[in-house]
């Protein structure tokens, strides 16, 4: 076991994958010599050469499109979109191509690749360095969408994503890179070195895609969360004193419906929390599913706590960010229903 931040866990996953499989190539904007603006690819070019880790032009479309071609050739590209907010220029390549090639060619060509994107707010990034676009990816048949919440999972899930035969979107909550963050921005910053999920196995391991983790067992209400919101949920639970079960979904598609169902059958109540805007956010799918599958187990409506339906603002960041207080209120409300 080694203490790692999410950054070093991700860097380490790259390193092990490149060592194990020489088809793995890594590139993106500032990813090569410099090792990425968040340093998630630091040292890889030095170790594996410019042939396998290099800087790309500022063209998200070119990065994804070329990676699709490489995957079709037989490589395993792992590419970085510098911020998830910049995936849109590549959206056609992601939706119409990466997600479709296996199906439309009946397996003649496939597209095993990982698109990494730092996502989420809490760093005063304003509207173009804070977005959580997961719902725009979960709607797309053919993609898998993953969002880890800690170093242990980040490493295992990234290695699983790299092994996966299909395109995987790997969303990294950047506010968690250096430590867990529960929304209490006024409190001192916590580091991963103080967290049990910062202690990472040094060797190669995979955390299977499609399996949620229960972060806290409880009886009163189920909280469905992922990414930064896992810690917001923990804080809300602590502050309200409610005996909630906190589920960290980890993978959004394919979804671990079984874990969700087992939990809600027990608690009868469900609150969903995510940072993305509300309307047509992934919480909508979760709420729709939960009431479809578990209607007769529910004692209260499934509630959503999300970012508002506005751009992510700069100065009003903490008004936008779903806080433990906001979540706490909704939990209480759901219990009182």
């Amino acid at each position: 076991m080694v203490q790692m931040t999410m950054i070093s866990a991700i860097q380490n996953a790259h390193d092990l994958a490149m060592e194990k499989d020489d088809r793995v190539v890594v590139y993106g904007e500032d990813v090569g010599f410099f090792g990425g603006v968040f340093r998630c690819t630091a040292g890889l070019q030095e170790k594996y050469g410019k042939n396998r880790c290099f800087d790309a032009p500022i063209s998200e479309n070119g990065i994804v499109g070329s990676a699709i071609g490489m995957a079709a050739y037989g490589l395993r590209p792992v590419i970085e979109i510098q911020f998830a907010d910049y995936m849109y220029p590549a959206y056609d390549q992601i939706v119409s191509e990466a997600a479709r090639i296996r199906h439309r060619s009946n397996g003649d060509f496939t597209c095993p690749m990982v698109i990494r994107m730092p996502c989420g707010g809490g760093i005063f990034g304003g509207q173009t360095h804070s977005q959580s676009p997961e719902a725009l990816l979960t709607h797309v048949a053919g993609l898998k969408t993953v969002m880890p919440s800690n170093p242990v999972d980040a490493k295992g899930l990234l290695l699983a994503a790299i092994e996966d035969p299909d395109p995987v979107i790997f969303l990294e909550p950047k506010r968690l890179y250096n430590g867990p963050f529960d929304g209490h921005h006024e409190k001192p910053i916590v580091s991963w070195s103080k967290h049990e999920l910062g202690a990472v196995e040094e060797d190669y391991y995979v955390t299977p895609l499609g399996k949620a983790a229960i972060r806290r067992s409880g009886e009163a209400v189920t909280i469905l969360s992922y990414g930064t919101m896992v810690y917001v949920a923990e804080a809300a639970v602590e502050e309200t004193g409610v005996d909630a079960e906190i589920i960290d979904l980890r993978t959004l598609v394919p979804l671990d419906l079984e874990t969700i169902e087992t939990s809600i059958k027990k608690t009868g109540r469900c609150v969903i929390v995510h940072e993305a805007t509300k309307t047509s956010g992934f919480g909508a799918e979760l709420a729709a599913l939960v009431q479809e599958e578990l209607f007769y187990h529910l004692e209260a409506p499934v509630a959503r706590v999300t970012g508002w339906d506005t751009p992510y603002p700069h100065a009003q960041e903490w008004d936008y960010f779903p806080s433990p207080q906001r979540l706490g209120r909704k939990i209480i409300e759901t219990l009182e229903n």
Binding site: V25, N51, R52, A56, P57, S59, N61, G62, G65, S66, A67, I68, G69, M70, A72, Y73, G74, L75, P77, P89, D92, Q93, S96, E97, R100, I101, R102, H103, R104, S105, N106, G107, D108, F109, T110, A141, G142, K144, P165, D166, G210, V253, P254, L255, L257
Partner: protein, 417 residues
């Protein structure tokens, strides 16, 4: 200081410039301003020549066959009369297949079709310049790559009919083939996307120290898509081993090529802003297409990086089975097209060589048509889109992922499969 600027002389109000084609319905076509160099006139650069060494080639047209049907000049390559007869046969097969499939679509046997009339030389000649293992990233108008590459025509028809033997299991619209073993990438319905993918594939070949090259294809109209820019940037930066083909058939549905080309002299010249060697070729001249393709492929394979080839040709038919070009272009335009018909021209060349006759040609036309009809019958015996023997609905759920995730299994069951 603003005063200085406002002291400019009075200037007329601005106007929007919207380019217009030469020949709309009712107009008489006029190609008098269309400059066509003599066959043999354009020099052949060394393989390792730079873009700067051949700037002119993006504004000229490489041609081999002259009016007399002779092959002349530095671009005459090594095709034997037998090779040429095979090339002729490929083009005739493609045309016969087009004819039959257009009719089949009209008869309601499938939903849609796109033909190649007038452009047969481009894909048929290109393919023979490739090696096994190379990969085309085509659009919907390069079925000649498959025919010249020896792909079974029945499979193409099965795909078009979406029948039970369709290699793509009915999932794709007609003509959006995929044939990896024949160096033919899965065709996308979204224009342009394959261009940068081809560059990625070529980069992969370089990363693996392989010797395979990629060939990207795009129409004149679709050069306006951003993927083409991405492709040029990446190909230029990483010197990817790729041939970047632009098939300028003068039209993009109802839109003439001037709307995509704008103020540029030619599409080939787009390469100049990226330092990519760029040439134009007579797309209706089988020998010229072959020679240029072979040269560009060898450049790529030798590590000299990308080449852009603009094929100057003409879309003699409608855009697709849904299109009627008489609504937007002069009906006489096709006949007036100065580069002629690719089949006719290769035929003449073979006759000039003494390797072919008019009679033999008529006979070959009939043979080829019979062959295509025979294949068609076999395909139709399996089924057509409307004959009821379609791939199962179950198949729709397969292949979304390698392993079907639980939610799709549930949906498949709900669908009754």
């Amino acid at each position: 200081m603003a005063e200085q600027v406002s002291s400019y002389p009075e200037i007329a109000p601005l106007k929007l410039h919207v380019p217009e084609p030469g020949c709309r319905p009712g107009d008489t076509p006029d190609f008098s301003e269309f400059e066509i160099p003599r066959a043999g006139a354009v020099p052949k650069p060394e393989l390792d020549a730079s873009a700067d060494d051949m700037l002119d080639l993006a504004f000229s047209i490489i041609r081999v066959l002259n009016k007399e049907g002779e092959a002349v000049g530095p671009w005459v390559d090594d095709l034997s009369p037998d090779d040429l007869k095979q090339g002729l046969r490929h083009m005739m097969l493609l045309r016969a297949y087009d004819t039959r499939m257009m009719t089949a679509q009209r008869q309601g046997k499938t939903s849609f079709y796109m033909q190649h009339r007038g452009e047969e030389a481009v894909s048929c000649a290109f393919q023979v310049a490739l090696k096994k293992g190379d990969m085309n990233f085509p659009t919907y108008r390069q079925a000649g790559l498959l025919i010249a590459g020896g792909y079974p025509m029945e499979k193409m028809m099965n795909q078009i009919y979406s029948n039970e033997a369709d290699p793509l299991h009915g999932r794709q619209m007609p003509v959006l083939f995929s044939a990896k073993d024949y160096g033919f990438f899965s065709i996308s319905g979204n224009l342009g996307t394959q261009y940068i993918q081809a560059v990625g594939w070529a980069m992969a070949s370089a990363i693996r120290h392989d010797s395979k090259i990629a060939a990207a294809w795009v129409g004149d109209g679709a050069t306006a898509e951003g993927d083409i820019h991405s492709a040029m940037v990446f190909a230029s930066t990483y010197k990817a081993p790729i041939v970047m083909n632009i098939v300028n058939n003068q039209w993009a549905i109802s839109t003439f090529q001037g709307i995509a080309r704008g103020g540029a002299g030619t599409f080939a010249s787009r390469g100049h802003g990226f330092g990519i060697p760029s040439v134009r070729v007579d797309g209706n001249d089988y020998l010229a297409v072959y020679a240029v393709a072979k040269w560009a492929a060898l450049r790529a394979r030798s590590g000299f990086g990308p080449t852009i080839i603009e094929y100057v040709t003409y879309r003699a038919g409608g855009h697709s089975s849904s299109d009627d070009p008489s609504a937007y272009r002069g009906s006489a335009e096709g006949a007036a097209w100065p580069l002629g018909d690719p089949i006719e021209r290769l035929k003449q060349h073979l006759i000039t060589l003494g390797a072919w006759t008019e009679e033999r040609h008529v006979q070959a036309e009939a043979e080829v048509m019979d062959e295509v009809k025979f294949i068609q019958k076999q395909a139709e015996a399996i089924g057509t889109l409307t004959s009821g023997h379609l791939p199962s609905g179950r198949d729709m759920f397969e292949g979304v992922y390698e392993i079907m995730p639980p939610h799709l299994v549930r949906q498949r069951r709900e669908a009754g499969y």
